[in-house]
Amino acid sequence: MTQTPARTPLYDWHTRHGARFVPFGGWEMPVQYTGILEEHRATRTAAGLFDVSHMGEATVSGPQASAFLDHVATNRLGDLGVGRARYTLLCAADGGVVDDIIVYRTGSQSFLLCLNAGNTPGDITWLTEHAARFDCEFRNASADYAQLALQGPRAVEIATRLAPSTVCLADVPRFSFVEILLSGAPMLASRTGYTGEDGFEFYLRPDQAATFAEALLVAGADLGLKPCGLGARDSLRLEAGLPLYGHEISREITPLQAGLGWAVKLDKLGGFIGRDALAAEAAAGSPSRVVFFILDDRRVARADMVVSSSGKSVGKILSGTVSPMINQPIGSALVERAALDAGATLTVDVRGSAIPLRLAKPPLHKLPA
């Protein structure tokens, strides 16, 4: 299924700002502009602007819209207030993850879904199929939206410079959103993100995205705002301990293994797809768990490297990079429960050397020394 990668409405804007592109999830996306380390640090200390228009969107509306979402999602969505957003997983009947998504309640009977780029075609097929049994209209709205993420300690201040004086963006709570005009463009501004920093994600019309991105960049220039690529997005989310589909969660790695049990409501009325498999796993205990770690070494653990305990393979690396904040290798691994429960020393094999994993609870860049 080789296809020409799609381009976001910001492709020319990226080129103008010196981006280097990589294929990702069927899209040609900027991996970096000036460098991943610089972009990452700018986001942690000031602010970063990310084009995330490759993410898919879908809308659900109708009398049974919330019943449909509660049937397909692991988290509870029926009680989500209008103007609020919630993270949830979509699971298959065996408990494997189909996707992890954000659900926005845009009205009493209407929702907006934000889907992972690479999963969007599969999600649309899967959700369309299940929606047919509910009194609701499900629609792929991916072509209707560009998406920009403005993240970092100065993000709210920068966005405020483009907002009407009647609106106080700083008052929008986490996981809430407002419909607003910023720099004259109508959009949905959501106090969410994927970096572990404060900030907003903006959903707007594709034909207004480049002008808005440039307006943000100009508005934030004196505060240190930098355009950031997918490289920094990945290292930021890993430091923060946020899962990436295909790494910490997948068809093989359930939400319970990934430590996302807080987003799985086993007692939800009427159940949901995958509920029985996940309830059985919860009762028996997950056979393996996702852990995060730091290496006290210069060598970097990379995805698929083998994790061992006393010479025996007990798991594998899921994600690995160097933390630009602590200048040490960090990552995540899937490790057998027995090895974790025994508190055994875990090592990763990097080119023939066994390097000890120091397990740590994210955010990995904010641990006490």
Partner: protein, 126 residues
């Protein structure tokens, strides 16, 4: 655009080699290579005295995104490694042809340098 100094020799794997009259040479990776790799965070180099065949893996360079093997341009013995890269791997990004050098080698056969690409031929590959 990446720089390709006239006075160096190159490989298709994006290493450069600067030969001296005394039969030794410096080895590093090209400007094109460092740009493609992005921010370099670690360079793993061999021990002094190690001998390598032409094309053998002599080390690894780790960027934020990935680890990449380093290939010996020519049959040689390592006589010195750039230990400054242990604490400042970013020199490979900043000055790939100067402070970012990786190895000083003694060539098994100094005449074999002529088999490497010259700047014009390497430029065609980038």
């Amino acid at each position: 655009m990446s720089s390709v100094p006239e006075d160096l020799r190159y490989t298709k794997d994006h290493e450069w080699l600067k030969a001296s009259a005394d039969g030794t040479a410096l080895v590093g990776i090209t400007d094109y290579a460092q740009q493609s790799l992005g921010d370099i965070v670690y360079v793993e180099l061999p021990k002094v005295g190690t001998k390598f065949a032409s094309g053998a893996t002599f080390g690894v360079v780790e960027s934020v995104k990935a680890a990449s093997d380093l290939y010996m341009p020519i049959e040689a013995e390592v006589v010195e490694v750039n230990s400054t890269l242990e604490s400042m791997p970013e020199l490979v990004n900043q000055v790939p042809y100067v402070g970012g050098w990786m190895l000083k080698i003694r060539l098994a056969n100094p005449a074999s340098v002529d088999q490497l690409l010259d700047a014009a031929a390497y430029q065609q590959l980038t």
